[in-house]
């Protein structure tokens, strides 16, 4: 298929996943902010609930430019949900996804476009006043519409290249999101001596699990109290947890095996490498290396993979000798 088309669909998919992840994270942040949280040491203000979404997405700097001074729930919500100037706001994500879909209408099932178009039109009609009173319902609605779009895609689309690039976008974004949330939250939740096993601890860890929809899974897999090590294991190594890094890399590796032809094996190899580390990895290794280092390493790997995917499929540049060979 056209490289530009694959690129648009890949990004359409990443943007919807990003919007859903943002909704999930902000919802948990909102719930967390209702609970008492421990008084922070000076210099740790960024760890308070409403700052965390900014840190995880890397948009703290942009936020402070728009809203200098204190972090307030209102401003964070406005910035991350409605702000068209923030390219990762839910508004920007859905708008961009819909624009990508609109320009790619020929490549996707008509029901998909109708669903996404409807999502956008309804989102645009949302009353910003409801950011105060009905915020949880609003985030629920976004999650549901994202599920719906994925469902329509999965249910209607021909399993062609377009479909594979759409799925690739979803899992690349999801892996990125899980790794970042785990990195930032784990870092802030490292038990201080006073808090180990305390009630606040439980809520913090369960909030982390909920932000990746893994709270119920944790309960089913580990019939024991929540511990940091088990949370890391669940979200990194367990292939049966849909948002884990292992589950995401399973999909990514499989998709690239399907997509790559004989001249494109490097992308497949890089994915295979990342996949193998997760598939054969052990929790003790992660602890030994240190979670932050492990995740930094993983994100470096996915960044390299992203570059390779771009070069190979989405934004290829043909060196002169290839152009001449083809023309001959």
């Amino acid at each position: 298929m056209l490289s530009r088309a694959a690129n648009n669909l890949y990004w359409m998919s990443r943007q919807i996943e990003r919007a859903e992840n943002a909704a999930r994270m902000l919802d948990v942040t909102y719930r967390m902010s209702l609970l008492p949280y421990r008084v922070l040491e000076p210099g740790q203000e960024w760890a308070e609930p409403w700052a965390l979404p900014l840190v995880i997405t890397g948009f703290a700097g942009a936020y402070y430019e728009r809203y200098p001074g204190k972090i307030t729930p209102d401003n964070v919500l406005r910035f991350m949900v409605l702000d068209p100037e923030n390219s990762s706001s839910i508004y920007s994500c859905i708008q961009a996804a819909r624009e990508n879909a609109r320009s790619m209408r020929g490549a996707i099932a008509s029901e998909m476009y109708e669903d996404l178009n409807d999502f956008w039109l309804k989102f645009r009609g949302f009353d910003p006043g409801r950011l105060h009173s009905g915020v949880s319902e609003f985030f629920d609605w976004i999650k549901i519409r994202s599920h719906q779009f994925r469902g329509v895609t999965f249910g209607t689309m021909l399993r062609d290249e377009a479909y594979h690039f759409i799925r690739l976008g979803t899992f690349m974004e999801r892996a990125d999101n899980t790794a970042r949330i785990l990195d930032v939250k784990y870092h802030t939740l490292l038990p201080s001596v006073a808090d180990v096993g305390g009630a606040v601890d439980y809520y913090q860890w369960s909030a982390l699990l909920r932000s990746v929809s893994a709270f119920d899974s944790y309960r089913k897999v580990y019939r024991e109290a929540i511990t940091p090590v088990k949370v890391a294991e669940l979200l990194i190594l367990r292939a049966d947890v849909p948002r884990s890094l292992h589950a995401c890399m399973n999909e990514i590796y499989e998709i690239l095996q399907e997509l790559c032809d004989d001249t494109q094996r490097e992308a497949e190899r890089l994915a295979g490498e990342l996949h193998a580390k997760l598939h054969y990895g052990q929790t003790q290794q992660i602890i030994q290396i240190g979670l932050h280092e492990y995740l930094t390493d993983f994100l470096a790997g996915t960044s390299k993979l992203t570059d390779e995917i771009n070069k190979t499929f989405l934004v290829p540049v043909y060196p002169p000798h290839i152009v001449q060979t083809v023309a001959a």
Binding site: M1, L2, S3, R4, A6, E99, R102, S103, R105, G106, S110, Y113, E114, N117, D118, E161, F165, L259, D261, T263, Q264, F313, L314, P316, Y318, I322, V323, Q324, V326, A327, A328
Partner: protein
Amino acid sequence: MNAPLNTQVAAHFYNEMRDSGGAARAHYAAYAAWLADKPHDFMLQKQKEADTLYARLGITFAVYGDEGGVERSIPFDIIPRIMPAAAWKKISDGCCQRVRALNAFLNDIYHQQEIIKAGIVPERQIMGNSLFRSEMVGIDVPGGVYVHIAGVDIVMVDAETFYVLEDNLRTPSGVSYMLENRKMMMRLFPDLFAQIAVAPIDHYTDVLLDNLRAVAPQGIASPVVVVLTPGSYNSAYFEHAFLAQQMGVELVEGQDLFVADNAVFMRTTHGPQRVDVIYRRIDDDFLDPLAFRPDSALGVPGLFAAYRAGKVTLANAIGTGVADDKSTYIYVPEMIRFYLGEEPILQNVPTWQLGKPDDLQYVLDHLAELVIKEVQGSGGYGMLVGPAASKSEIKKYRARILENPASFIAQPTLALSTCPTFAQSGIVPRHVDLRPYVLSGKSVTLVPGALTRVALREGSLVVNSSQGGGTKDTWVLES
């Protein structure tokens, strides 16, 4: 309660559905009987359904200069325009004849120019025409076909009298509405199609693809066809995407293509792929920054060189604008006689050329009665409808004419036929025109149908969608 009908027919406009006594004409009889027991609310609900579906499907059209934003739906009217088979045959034969002559004309003026030598068309008309592309002189196009897709605008004055208003030979649009309108009507009123034998049109894109493949450069076994679009912000983008999807071919933008060794390739996820035929919906001027406008970001550098080398076919060919120019229009009946040896089946509208002093004088004396158009205008912009214009509008237009009389033509105000149209108040007569699409390549042919455009404002004669017109499904009866 039946839908209120406006049976009052303006004395001098031909009502396609009802005669002056209010009785349904023969070809509308079955529809009128069906309509008779449908309450106004039923039709209102169907109209709303259609509007909602069109919005949801995102079938939109961008109107330049409209503050409403980037997209708007073209209003679709749920009452079909029905045409008897015999009338269609005349229109169809007449359009084919016209397009055959126009293709022969284009071939001629870019080669031997016999029609100029024969003194039928003045040399100045062609060589002085800004749309004549000297780059095309001497280039042979596959099959001698320049116009693969033509839209011929026709008006009906009474049951047997049709006039060709103009030929559209560059990038005629609107066929997607013709096809979508039919799908919409079948969805809204399936029972009607069981009762009335309407000729099918959904094979249009099959015929189009066949013709496009047939004009691929010689020797290509499985020609690769693409649709080239300026992009999703173009007013007709929906149609570009629609046609590509229906034909099962790629929709490309300039940036997706590159030229290597005079051959055209597209950038794909598995390397470059050769392109043989381009159905281009970009104007000549923007096609190639190396050959035409250098500031065009929409085109493909080197495309014209590939075209000249015969390594890619463009549909429609470059340089067809000289033949759909409103001043060239005057010569089309003569072209039919000269190239085909036939008498024109469809008539031209009597036309005054304001470049001629006598014509200019007559027109200036009768501005309030005539329709004046720019010779190279399109979309209904820049025209004056005398009877509908205010004194000051006429005065301003007179000044424009006097600045450059040769760039205007004038025609009498035609008494366009009317067709029943659904309005909030009931079913009312509104003026319509007809745009059938003629396809050439393998053969010259039409599907039995066309786009009917309707002027939605009472009394308005301007049907162009870019100025608030709407569309209807057009039913050609099978017999």
